[in-house]
Symmetry: D3
Subunit: 258 residues, 6 copies
């Protein structure tokens, strides 16, 4: 059963595309092919919600295009999970995964409580809202903040690693976290070492949604369990989209078909 997954880096920069693709290639199951794209234009990180807003239409169009091209699933590669609801609304059959949702489902299965390590305090309110929304508010031990922006993570990786380990240790020892979640996709490449040192599961925000997407595709293909189209994820009617000229106004001619 062939499966195709599109990982969307919702950024203007393509700097992370190839490293991520290479890392993903060795982690998916043999029958899975994963591609990585970014958006061509836009911000280089999404720390600010304005940046999320800017790229939201492009994320959704990338998602819909992927469905048209026969992808089985897409991952929206930012820990704010931007456009998760909207993407599930517009797809017909494809499944959508996102880092926070996937990582928290995994964390809640592996331990009683978890801490999320973020870059800056700024990120916390929106992420806390997601934690609550996904149902895991009662399992949140703490947010730990590195005091680093996204661009800093790979600028000096030893410094980042050491800050991550310090935060993780404090979370486990003081806040009684049983699992650590890395709260940014750009915190990739670090989980294994932290896990080895701190001794609890450390959930990487790229691998968790990638594998969760595989899982969702698997149950969709086998059992027909996809996003419910009754209620919140009911799709917009294509004739409305075309009738109002949304396709030409947003440069997506040909994207929408009945």
């Amino acid at each position: 059963m062939k499966k195709r997954i599109l990982w969307i880096n919702p950024l203007g920069t393509s700097a992370f595309d190839e490293p991520m693709r290479a890392s993903f290639e060795t982690e998916v199951e043999p029958d899975v092919r994963v591609d990585v794209v970014s958006l061509g234009k836009g911000p280089e990180h999404l720390e600010y919600h304005y940046y999320e807003a800017l790229v939201l239409p492009d994320i959704l169009h990338a998602v819909k295009r992927a469905e048209n091209q026969g992808y089985d699933g897409a991952v929206i590669g930012c820990f704010y999970d931007p456009g998760l609801r909207e993407a599930r609304e517009i797809v017909r059959d494809m499944v959508i995964a996102a880092p926070a949702e996937a990582a928290l489902h995994v964390a809640a299965t592996l331990g009683d409580t978890f801490s999320i390590i973020v870059g800056r305090r700024k990120w916390i309110p929106a992420m806390r809202e997601n934690v609550e929304k996904y149902g895991f508010g009662g399992r949140l031990a703490s947010f730990k903040s590195l005091g680093m922006g996204v661009p800093d993570f790979h600028a000096d990786e030893r410094r980042t690693m050491s800050a991550l380990i310090e935060c993780a240790k404090e979370a486990v020892e003081k806040d009684r976290a049983e699992v650590i979640v890395l709260g940014c996709t750009i915190e990739f490449g670090f989980y294994k070492e932290i896990q080895r040192i701190v001794g609890v599961p450390v959930i990487d925000a790229t691998l968790a949604p990638l594998k969760y997407a595989e899982f969702l595709i698997e149950i969709k293909k086998r059992f027909g369990w996809g996003h419910s189209k009754e209620g919140g994820y009911e799709s917009p009617p294509v004739d409305e989209i075309l009738g109002w000229g949304l396709d030409s106004d947003w440069g997506t001619e040909g994207l929408w078909k009945e």
Copy 2:
């Protein structure tokens, strides 16, 4: 103390701009001037979250432009409250109001529980999430659904009125709602008659945020109580926006200044 408010109809159609402006004009205090704009392009309603996503950047740019033009406050005219967090993030001093937040604050002050009358079941998940997020989940008596889309509301106003009254009565009698909230800005023009007949406060989703905006402007001007810039509403750095060329890529040259 002169106050200027911009009401943003986050729609491609300008059909509601003038009727709303006229209705607002008589309801604001003497020192307040309210303008109404729509977006020039985009969907004619926002029932689907994809539509919200499409207009989100334009909403935010309208908000920022308004701040540059000296407006004191803006209202985002859709009961999903699209872009509320993002708008509060990008403004420096202006205050932002939105229908659901304002209406629920009012409803929670006026009675123990409230029911929200929506057009279609589709709307409920996102709105319920907002009710929870704003803190009023424990006060929600019920969602009542009219089984009508936004375009139907003013197509046959007598039929709409009668459906609204039936829903409101059932909410008050069966669900023990003490206040009714009309869950769509396009349900405007109906509240007074429903209120007269049903005998509990019926909160209109255009007037509530308009007056709440006045209130927020008043306390901002007098006491400096605006959206906190520490934490979630910290603004994106202008040099990043300009450095990445977001202004030219999104056609907003001149919008962002230090």
Copy 3:
């Protein structure tokens, strides 16, 4: 549209009446007149719930008398919000505001989380209960306690200011509060300086309910949105009050009329 507001200091002492009146006078809108009264007898502060209980009937009679005299709204001037439910029950058309409810609605609109600075630990349980009741439990960053009683606040204002600033800073930096709420009406006169130094909105517990009362009056007069009389705020029948002689037993002859 003339509006009259009565601020009730639910205390035996009138010491705060004139300073408050003077301060309020400059903060209300031109068409608003605000009067300040205290109760003539009773405790000099309400730190203990017994004191609240003692003055509760007098608060309510002051409220009802105000309605008879044509006031449009009343504010119950204590951060425990004593008698808020009861006052809304007995009025016919007047609106009632109270410090905690008003301040928390404002705080929740201005930031993600807030801390409340109280005088003593003693106050916290009842106030925390109110925070939960109003729906903002999930937004509470912390209570900070000054370790000072009400009479201390204006005994040495420089010491109070310095303690307030220290608490506020710790709330913002350590507890990640985005907004500060001063949890006592007698903490008046301090907010501006704290706000200047700490850099987040600092909500004063006298000004917030005063302006919220203006707002409530405005929407009551324009739209008829007053406290719902269906359910919890249903008023007691006057014939019962008179029939049982409650008016003569409590010395309120003439207060209650059909």
Copy 4:
């Protein structure tokens, strides 16, 4: 170990005192003596929160007087639990019980969920708030309303019984309640028959707090487990009460001693 309990009917009428005393006498343990008092003046029922407010000081003074007279515990006989917090604040050693708190603790121990049968819809908001406050919101199956006022309960007892049974049955069958709570002390005398017919525990709102008071006295006397005086129940300082003349102003000379 002799125990003395004072049951306070917080009403102006003494009509229920003797029937209650007679019923209680046979239900307490041999070493317990229970007295019943009412307030001499005041309303004949407490359906309205204004009535609660009126009698609140007298309730508290009855409580304090009881402590002075050597009572070990007091029960505040109204299902709104008026003055429960305040009473626990002012006592030094006595324990205080109240109907809703006691009945809900019992109900939560006996089954998964419970329904509360009230007289009128009016009562629900304040009672629901108590259910939440005591921690049992997640266990509440429903409120059922008889559509009867307090004076109706014993006006035609067969009609009342039949209405109670109908409500209880519906609660058990439709709302899946496993326990029924009678939500008014004046619903006394009915529980046994309803229980026999409906087949689940039916908690009487007079017997539950009476026995809970016995239990609290027992653990107070044996283990010293009384209401904590650290925090919310810290008592007001007697010198403040006397210094401000609260005793003479409220006619309670001699009530307060160091």
Copy 5:
């Protein structure tokens, strides 16, 4: 009214049986007889959930045997409350108490918030889940961990006492707990001294459920208020148990009768 209570130490060791019996004997009311049994085989403490699982059938059979022998109530002597739900399911008329449930009901009645002192961090997740389940999550000030296993408690009692006092003080002063709960039945013998020094109620995990059992028996005998048999506590049908040979497979011949 004679009452018989069986305290079940769900352990293989009988070391605690006689000391507990002796201590209980002086604390029950004159008409109550309390026996203490342990299980004959099994672990010497229940810190691990596997140990709980092993003894669970034996706990339940001890409970059922007690009912057959005419006991009125049983207490399951471990703060995890193992088998509480199951025991209430299998009994017909007997009442069941358990330490955490009883202690938390008492604590919630005596103060606003409580802290639970556990031996090791390991215990917290299961206990926290119980706190939530019983409805007291909002009242939990903190868990404090002694860093001691069950066997350590009475190995060096002075060291244990000093650690308990330190934890309790910190809970009261830093976490603002108003009541302390000792989170293990083997922490018996210490409460009085801690209470004397720390000055808030300190709930012992053996005495609380013992007295709560007395209370439950009392209301069962007088009013018929036992565990509801409608819903979750519906008993398994004896003919099924016998028909499947569960009695012979588990060596409980004669235990189950219609």
Copy 6:
């Protein structure tokens, strides 16, 4: 990467083993081998919590034996998820899945709200507690009860199917469920037809945990993300188990090794 999963039917009957194995065989990925066992002795269904308690030790020993035999994961085949916590505690590296946890994670990912179809009302309290514990209480649209016991499900499958469809339709239309969860593993074989007719995802309680186990094994093997051994899932020390003779007392000699 070979994976071995053990499905444990926690029952005395082996009647479901072979049909389940056959059905699972075609649904797992090519590199997965799944075996099905039952317990040899014990009840034929687990509707009653006493039955769960009886088989709990055998479930855990089957789990531990499976780990010793090289299985990568085990599924506990009952929708009460009996022993889930305990099983995760005793394993070293194996992962454990269970029906309710897995099905609810899937349901929460696929739609806003879900309804669970149970056999009898009896089941609801324990299951509702699990829904809350797993974090999905806010997503629960309703429990629907078929009024059928486990043995009825396959006695007359057409009657069962028709009852399931009726419940599912009512859940979707009246309770606004967006996903249906079949709340019993013995409701297997029905989901596809219900799904076809009702038009929303219908989660089968056998396939969901089977595939979730595959997913958990996959992330365990690749990333080392297994159940955290810090905190609640810390394993009991083998020397304690052996030292107390638990292995010989429970007939599990050789099961536990350092």
